[in-house]
């Protein structure tokens, strides 16, 4: 029974990996992804300002980028 479960999980994992190989687009399909607003850091200035506020007001920082140092506000 246990072995069967392992086999099923392994098959599913392999299928997932095979699925990953299909992820992505061809270079000529990047019309939408290439837009400025689709960049992960498109809100860079706003995010920088927000990070400073939340760094000063909450116990957690970072995640998106480095967490350490910066100001004496915390």
């Amino acid at each position: 029974m246990k072995r069967k479960t392992i086999v099923i999980i392994t098959i599913m994992a392999v299928m997932q990996l095979a699925g990953c190989a299909n992820l992505g687009v061809q270079p000529w399909e990047r019309d939408l992804l290439a837009k400025d607003e689709m960049a992960l850091d498109s809100e860079g200035v706003d995010i920088g300002l927000d990070d400073h506020i939340y760094f000063s007001k909450e116990a957690t920082s970072g995640g998106r980028s480095f967490a350490g140092g910066g100001c004496g506000c915390n």
Binding site: G62, F66, G68
Partner: protein, 430 residues
Amino acid sequence: MQLKQTKNVSATLAAASCALLGTSVQAEDNSEEWKFDTAILYYGETDRVQLVEGVFNANKDFGDEHYFNGKLVIDTLTGASASGAVAQSGVQTFTRPSGNETYTVEAGETPLDDTFHDTRVQASGQWTQPIGENYRISGGLQASKEYDYLSIVGNGSLDMDLNQRNTTLSAGISYAFDSIDPVGGRPVDLSSMVVDNGQFDSSEAYQQAFDATRLQGSEQKDTVDLLLGVTQVINRRMLMQFNYSLSMSDGYHNDPYKVLSVVDQQGLTQDVVYESRPTERTKHSMYWQTKYALDQGVVDFSYRFATDDWDIDSHTIDSRFRYNLSETSYIQPHIRYYQQNEAEFYNPFLSQGTALPEHASADYRLGKMTAITLGLKYGMQLENGNELAFRLEYYQQTPDNAGFEQPGTLADEDLYPSLKAVIAQVSYSF
């Protein structure tokens, strides 16, 4: 009529903002132009801290994917911040951090230290360039200086593109050196606040007692951050990023201006002591962001889980939805939810008669809380191609009691007041 009026208001606001932020620089006839993003932000808490922050961000593409980013941030802070002491049924007297004077807090009021005033200047530069066909390196420096604080940060990272650039693996490291030299010296951990209630024979006697609770000179903190990330294009419309980061800091973690009340069984304050935090902290965080392109806009969603060896776990959900109103304008609602539990050494107050713990802090930022941000941004492209945007947000923090019983009269006091703030921002890119 109504429409026309709206347009006039927009135009007036646009003109006012341009005047505020400086007019656009004439673009040179050069294919590798500088691009500038500027912003002014106001952050105001009800009866507490007010912050005004200006950002000047410059990007330049030197060709062949060689990028430079430079950023200058200046902010000025005024107002009052909760000191950590509890509200009482009578008037309370505290000594200011400098030791030079005292201030009083009315009955039922949360003690605030109203000498909060600082100006900070931060400058940073970042260089990014490819190495070979599928690798990119990036390195940067940042320095931040305020009256009692200096921070210098260096970072480096390596990106590797795979699978026709549909997958990017990143690894980065950052080192931060922070130095603090507080006003009036550093309080000795858990030492009692010396308050001049007329019990001293002379001002020298008071000064001697005050000085005995202080250490002179600056203290340091070293922080090393490691970040591993995967960015994956899912399909023509969707992009995802996963990051794991580890942050280790060693050194002075206290907030030298925070205190704790020591109360008796009736809930009356008998003493006020300066906080003591551990000298080390290790944080882990997992971050997932996804962006999805709609025909009319973009959905941006992120979730972060963070945990650390101070026993603080937090969950953050941040979501923006950009909706294009036309070819040249958009609105963007923003919602953020944050929740954290308290640090293991967090105590809203200490009890008289029990031994002092090794570490204790009543800083509400280390306590249990939830916070929510609701915002709206409106952006438009002007006729000259530059972009102007306005952002207005509301931020509310709601601290919770993490199971601490309030003895005697303390039961009548609000030890967990919520904090409400407004954020307003004007941005101009050219």
